[in-house]
Symmetry: C3
């Protein structure tokens, strides 16, 4: 129950970020809903398909669809106010990627994949909803040229496997790993950290 609530918080947060992206593209209501939907469930869907979990998760429980419908309706009603909510949205989004990363890691472990592949699946779960959103909106995916984002997911997922070598209960390892993702992401934004550029000064 606790788990489902946080999971749906992630869905809500990503759905709102999808609505914000769609509003900038002047889509109709159906387009806005689709963008919100793929942003919220896209990463998990790609993960499920790569592993072979089918029907994919959101097809198996209507709660995801209903949550997204309600979120989109609220987001459209209060769209004027959303700009004042950027900080809260950023926090939701950050909590979302933290949790989604570890959910992806654990799904990989259930499928008995290697640690490296579990880390990859966690990162895909957290990040690729946004990638699909950007592709549908005809943008270059923002995670490819933005401050530390996927990197936080990789770091949190990696620390999960390192901590499991220690005598720490699994639940605690899970929670600490989520916190690591969130902390790295928050610090990166606060201190404007970014991955090193691969260009020299002259080229830019």
């Amino acid at each position: 129950m606790y788990y489902l609530i946080i999971d749906l918080l992630g869905v809500v947060s990503f759905a709102i970020s999808g609505v914000l992206a769609a509003l900038q593209k002047r889509l109709d209501i159906f387009g806005v809903f689709i963008i919100a939907f793929v942003t919220a469930v896209g990463g998990g869907t790609i993960r499920d398909i790569l592993i072979g979990i089918e029907p994919v998760t959101w097809l198996q429980d209507n709660i995801y669809m209903y949550t997204i419908i309600v979120t989109v309706i609220f987001a459209l009603i209060f769209k004027e106010k959303l700009k004042y909510l950027r900080t809260s949205l950023f926090l939701f989004d950050t909590i979302g990627i933290g949790l989604y990363t570890l959910v992806g890691v654990e799904k990989g472990m259930v499928a008995e994949l290697s640690a490296v592949m579990c880390i990859a699946l966690g990162t895909i779960t957290a990040c690729f909803g946004g990638v699909v959103r950007d592709i549908l909106c005809n943008d270059i995916p923002v995670i490819f040229h933005r401050e530390i984002y996927a990197t936080a997911c990789v770091a949190g997922a990696t620390s999960y496997f390192l901590m499991r070598l220690l005598p720490v209960p699994d639940d605690v390892v899970f929670i600490i790993s989520v916190v690591i993702v969130i902390t790295i992401r928050l610090l990166a934004v606060k201190f404007k950290l970014a991955l090193p550029s691969i260009y020299g000064k002259n080229e830019q």
Copy 2:
């Protein structure tokens, strides 16, 4: 047999719409064929993958591939004439989405998914071939900012489940639902109906 003929009519119609889109992008013949192919089978492929029907439908029967090859050849030979066929094409396309919607719904039911998810799968079957076409052509998918299209699919798929509560034979319910999709789409285009804009006048 009757079923297969209508199914292939949908394939033909969507393939032609793919050829028309590709011609505007000045692709070579192979590019035109690929765009036609994904437009015709893309929606059903995404549906199959989400449900877990694998190999996907078009891999299991060469008739889809052959139909698309023949259609593309004809479309390229008669491409000068295609502009005069817009009305016929629109009718084929409309019949196509009507049928594809209900095909998708029934595939979802065979997989024992909920009514809401069957409606979603029907809409995906009908609409996402066009979405993939537009992404490959580097456009924002047209269904996201066009008059009633996906909405007609949702309405027809929903009415299918409502009618099944009545003592009506399944075949009749299927046909009436297809007609509902087609009718809504025709009326929307005839009367230039569109989904309500989510922008105020000033913003546009």
Copy 3:
């Protein structure tokens, strides 16, 4: 072993082509890695999903991930030199599509699909990594409007099935088919062959 080495040569070559594409888009290091990754494994991933081979191949063996990581690091270190390596890269890429085509064909045969579908899967394996790369980079996929590329894959895959009708050992058929893909591609580039345009002179 021999097989794996050539397979990884293909991965290396496609990964480098992904790095080159990403560099032009000014992505950060993570973005460059993702583009390299999808270019190298994207075609095989789509093939696996369509057939239903899940978990997909690269999830089952870390060697793909490690090879791509090392390749990207080398490519970024020596990126100034890469422009002088265009000929070598072109040769690697050409060997890559030759091998990937036949790998795809054989995966289709293991799944007991028809010859036409095996040819399609071979072509998808060889070409769709580049398609996904171009979509993520927000370009129209280059294979849709470039000289003979996918056509070489189709020709090689088709000759594979024709030669199997003759009393020739399977390994020899495999190798000759790879050589056919490579030869057609090399000749096409050397003599600047292209698929016939579907436009009249005046339209261009």
